[in-house]
């Protein structure tokens, strides 16, 4: 499978080529180059998946294959960073997901970003992002993963801040980068601790059958927990940063400042699932060595899922609704991993998590691209500027509806199957988590349909536009919204088709914690409960939002405290702002700067000033008055003479 190296090399070349050749081409050419390269990569990924799943099964278990590996940087005799490609079930699955979504986004952007300034730059960044993400999933060792992890961080910075002259975009990009980097610091410390005790970075060794590498660290403890628990918890914090787990979720909603296709790429398929992928990659370590950390992951995930779902119910910016829904869904995956066992039926959670990752990537990309299509048509992100769009944009309407049904967990759409497995795994772990997750699933159905109705139903767009009096202003509200062109519609249709059929993929046969087959069987009790609950939520949303009504306002008024808090995202941003502005900037940085100038530097200047002061004082000895010298000389002589006489 040597050719898999091309999957990494091609996007890198594309990035370098587009980056250096900036503005040498017509924008369209650059876009086409990027898209074609991505197309090739997608084809290669599919071929890899095909070859892997048909040919690398030995005795019913999928093998790990490393077709390429080289030493990149040697640290000590035992530790060195290698760059390589690890092909196993989850990395192949991720290759497919990333390349598909990325290809769709590239295609979509050809039309969506048409005429934007910096079109080539945009495609260069997309290539870089894809490259980093692909490198991350095929990493053979944890340090390679960290390298690409950082590259993902920076390419997300570049993409989110694509509209660099817009201060809010720059702020969002900065925030995304700094928050994830803050988490990465813990990741790095975790890697340092883990590698110190295990003497390896290699995933193969860490997750292998023989856990002898953990023997060295087994006895060591720090503050009551074993060092391994610390290491794995720190590594998880890294994952939590990228996957926007509470309390590191704050960057994600703001990251919507980037172009909408970028949001689809970052939030649906790639960057945010990196954390989930990390935990899945190290799953055997979590499960066998540090089960308490794994349970912690489940609780963090459950809380984040609830937290984000509540906020999503009251947001008015459609992209933000989707952003919070992403956080919530990613948290679902985390919960699934957290509650999972390892072998056979126990491993439902792991399989479900990966399955959900796969299905979610498709329908969330669809949702974002659909939202992009809507925004493209009405030139606004706000729900209040939309309504009744189903008449103008039939394709978007239908595909969006399919995605909403999928995320709400209605059969036969893909989301139903994966979510059902997650719920089943949660119920097995603890009924509390199970019911909590079911409740969150209900909230999901509610806010998604609230979103759907607000965009496509409700008060008609034209009426609203007239009522708001922006009928003929510069923002382009005046024209009738129309369906998007082919390059934008095709990805929608394609992803919708995937969403319709993906649920029937026998996913467990491909991906499971052990590599052995796992047969999905739907737990009817859980399935029926979740579907019923989802249907109830959808009905509630239908009643409230399908026709213009006053119920939502009344509800908001009666729960004004909660409503306000949720609208303000529970003030977590303000807390962070307080920490950075007041504590880091004003209470640490400013005093240090002051201290440096007024204490340390003043001390150094003080030496100079003292020298000068002394010199001024003793300068008067050298008055230039000859007679004064003579006096001193005379009395000096007399004094010496007297002294000699006395002693």
């Amino acid at each position: 499978m040597q050719y898999t190296i091309l999957i990494l090399v091609l996007p890198l070349l594309s990035f370098i080529f587009l980056g250096l050749m900036d503005s040498k081409f017509k924008p369209k050419t650059a876009g086409l180059i990027g898209t074609i390269v991505l197309g090739i990569i997608t084809a290669l990924s599919y071929y890899t998946a095909f070859e892997y799943f048909t040919m690398y099964k030995v005795e019913g278990v999928y093998q790990k294959v490393i077709p390429f590996e080289m030493e990149w940087l040697r640290f000590t005799d035992l530790l060195s960073i290698k760059l390589g490609i690890l092909i196993d079930a989850i990395s192949v699955m991720m290759l497919v997901v990333i390349s598909t979504v990325s290809f769709m986004v590239n295609l979509y952007s050809l039309s969506y970003m048409d005429g934007e300034k910096g079109f080539q730059r945009y495609y260069a960044f997309l290539s870089l992002f894809t490259f980093s993400m692909l490198g991350l999933v095929v990493a053979t060792n944890i340090f390679q993963m960290y390298i690409f992890w950082e590259l993902v961080g920076v390419s997300s910075f570049l993409l989110i801040g694509f509209y660099y002259s817009k201060p809010s975009a720059v702020a969002a990009a900065k925030k995304a980068f700094i928050v994830t980097r803050f988490a990465d610091m813990f990741f790095l410390i975790g890697i340092l601790v883990l590698s110190f005790y295990t003497k390896t970075f290699d995933f193969g060794v860490l997750t292998g059958e023989n856990p002898i590498v953990f023997a060295a660290g087994a006895g060591a403890t720090f503050m009551g927990f074993s060092v391994l628990s610390w290491a794995m918890a720190l590594i998880f914090i890294g994952g939590a940063g990228k996957s926007a787990m509470f309390p590191l979720q704050i960057w994600l909603p703001d990251a919507m400042e980037g172009p909408t296709p970028v949001s689809a790429l970052i939030h649906a398929a790639t960057m945010v699932v990196a954390g989930v992928f990390l935990v899945a990659r190290l799953f055997p370590v979590y499960y066998f060595q540090t089960p308490e950390v794994l349970h912690g992951i489940a609780y963090v995930g459950a809380f984040t899922a609830l937290f984000a779902a509540v906020i999503a119910c009251v947001q008015t910016d459609i992209k933000r609704v989707l952003a919070f829904s992403t956080i919530s869904q990613i948290a679902f995956m985390m919960v699934a991993l957290g509650v999972s066992g390892y072998e056979g039926h126990e491993g439902t959670g792991y399989m479900a998590s990966m399955f959900h990752l796969f299905t979610h990537a498709m329908f969330k990309a669809l949702l974002f691209l659909g939202a992009g299509s809507v925004i493209h048509a009405v030139h606004s992100n706000e729900m209040k500027d939309m309504g009744g769009l189903r008449k103008y944009m039939p394709i978007t309407n239908w595909t969006f509806l399919i995605a909403c049904l999928a995320i709400a967990g209605i059969p036969p759409f893909s989301g139903f199957f994966s979510k059902d497995e997650i719920l089943a795994a949660s119920f097995e772990f603890s009924p509390l988590i199970g019911w909590l997750m079911t409740f969150i699933a209900a909230l999901t159905a509610f806010y998604m349909f609230r979103l759907y109705y607000n965009i496509f139903w409700g008060k008609d767009y034209a009426v609203k536009a007239a009522a708001h009096g922006h009928g003929h202003d510069d923002h382009g509200h005046g024209h009738t919204p129309h369906e998007s062109p082919f390059a934008m519609a095709f990805p929608l249709v394609f992803l919708a088709a995937v969403t319709c059929v993906a649920g029937f993929i026998p996913f467990g046969e491909f991906v499971s914690a052990t590599g052995a087959d796992y047969h999905i069987h739907i737990d009817m009790k859980v399935a029926i409960t979740s579907v019923v609950v989802a249907l109830i939520s959808i009905s509630v949303a239908t009643i409230m939002y399908r026709k213009p009504s006053t119920t939502p306002d009344k509800l908001a008024a009666s729960f004004s405290g909660l409503f306000k808090a949720a609208s303000n995202r529970f003030y977590i941003d303000e807390v962070y702002l307080f920490i950075t502005r007041k504590i880091v900037f004003n209470s640490i940085s400013r005093p240090i700067a002051w201290f440096d100038r007024h204490v340390i530097d003043a001390t150094m200047d003080g030496f100079a000033n003292t020298t000068q002061w002394v010199s001024i004082r003793i300068k008067s000895f050298q008055s230039g008055q000859i007679q004064q010298y003579a006096y001193v000389f005379l009395f000096g002589t007399l004094l010496i003479a007297a002294l000699i006489l006395i002693f």
């Binding site: 940087l73 590259l151 700094i178 980097r181």
Partner: protein
Amino acid sequence: MNFLSIFVLIPVLMMVGLFASNNRKQLLTVMTIGASLLMIMSATLTYMYLTERAAGNVAEMLFMADTVWYAPFNIHYSVGVDGISVAMLILSSIIVFTGVFASWKIDPLPKEFFLWFSLLSIGVYGFFITTDLFTMFMYYEIALIPMYLLIGIWGTGRKEYSAMKLTLMLMGGSALLLVGILGIYFSSGATTMNLLEIAKLHNIPVEMQRYFFPLTFMGFGVLGALFPFHTWSPDGHASAPTAVSMLHAGVLMKLGGYGAFRVAMYLMPEAAHEMAWIFLILTGISVVYGAFGAIHQTDLKYINAYSSVSHCGLVLFAILMMNETATTGAIMQMLSHGLMTALFFALIGMIYGRTHTRDIRLMGGLMKVLPFLGVSYVIAGMASLGLPSLSGFVAEMTIFVGSFQHTDTFHRVLTITAVSSIVITAVYILKVVGKIIFGPIQDKHHEELTDAVWYERVAVSVLIVAIFAMGSAPFWISSMIGESVIPVIGQLIK
């Protein structure tokens, strides 16, 4: 004549050429040819060095030569290089080369400027090739003195103050150093001041080491911006002209780390072990303190100077960790910091030359008008905050992994503190990038600015290529440095 002496001879010939030339064109021709020759020579040297090593020559230093210079005091002119010096020579050549292009339009007195610039290069090159303590000290002084004039005459802002401050503080450091060097020589019982001989004898009494180790380490540490002797750096860099900032932060500060490692640690290992904790705390403070200090600054050069304090602190920090990995990381950090800080100062100089301000509050949206400089600035920033595939990452990671090999809590806590600097660095880098490169244009006069011209592009591109090269293919440089570190570490572990 020994091959290595060419590195000192070329700048001397450059000075002769400069004396002979009488217009800017000739001056620049002389400088360009000289600097290119230096580049070629260091590439040749690297090639020769690697072939020699590949051929199985395991001597500690290669291309050694020794001439008695002043017999009564046993002063020799002795040269020799190992992987560390070769790395430093490459760095110096790159910086000198780009420095020439960055000072293409220097005004006034271009002839004098380049003369002093060449003299500075003599000091720098001589320092890295010599193995004799006294000659080393002499070259150190040769490198310091031109700095005073270069800042005092061609600087900006409070240049006299800064030049005086920088010179006095560094001279103070070299006074300590002189005492330390003489102490080493007289208590070692050696017949020459040759480093290798003293190290081989290895019989400086521990009581003596306790006096002379701190003196020597601090003497070099002042140049390496050791807290609390770093305050010359912000003022000095802020006032210095572009090329001088580049050379100073890029190479001259490396003399400190190199010397601390080569002289203080190598010759006095016992005291180094005993006293490492004091300096580890100081350098640990440097790392975090410099980074926090940078957040609050508003002058681009001050930001970069504080960031240098942080990064150079990391160099000394890693050296004091006293194991092979961390020390290799330290040398790589010297290289990496040299390249990226030179790039920063070059870019700041170019931006300042256009906007006539370095205050970040008065700038914004420069990407739109100066795309080349803007992109380069972002790349420099990314290198500084340790993005993989750029040089900073490999150096920092080697340091962190190496430092973490110590098992005791003291080293662990310090290492984690140092690791935290990567976040703080991200904060101030992104703050600056977000403010001046991105965002809306602040000043409408800035809309008429023109992007970099060819000589500026040469300087910037060379540095960027070097940063990328080191960051993407670190294995050969890491192994070259790694094997040269072993003798010193062997001395320390003994």
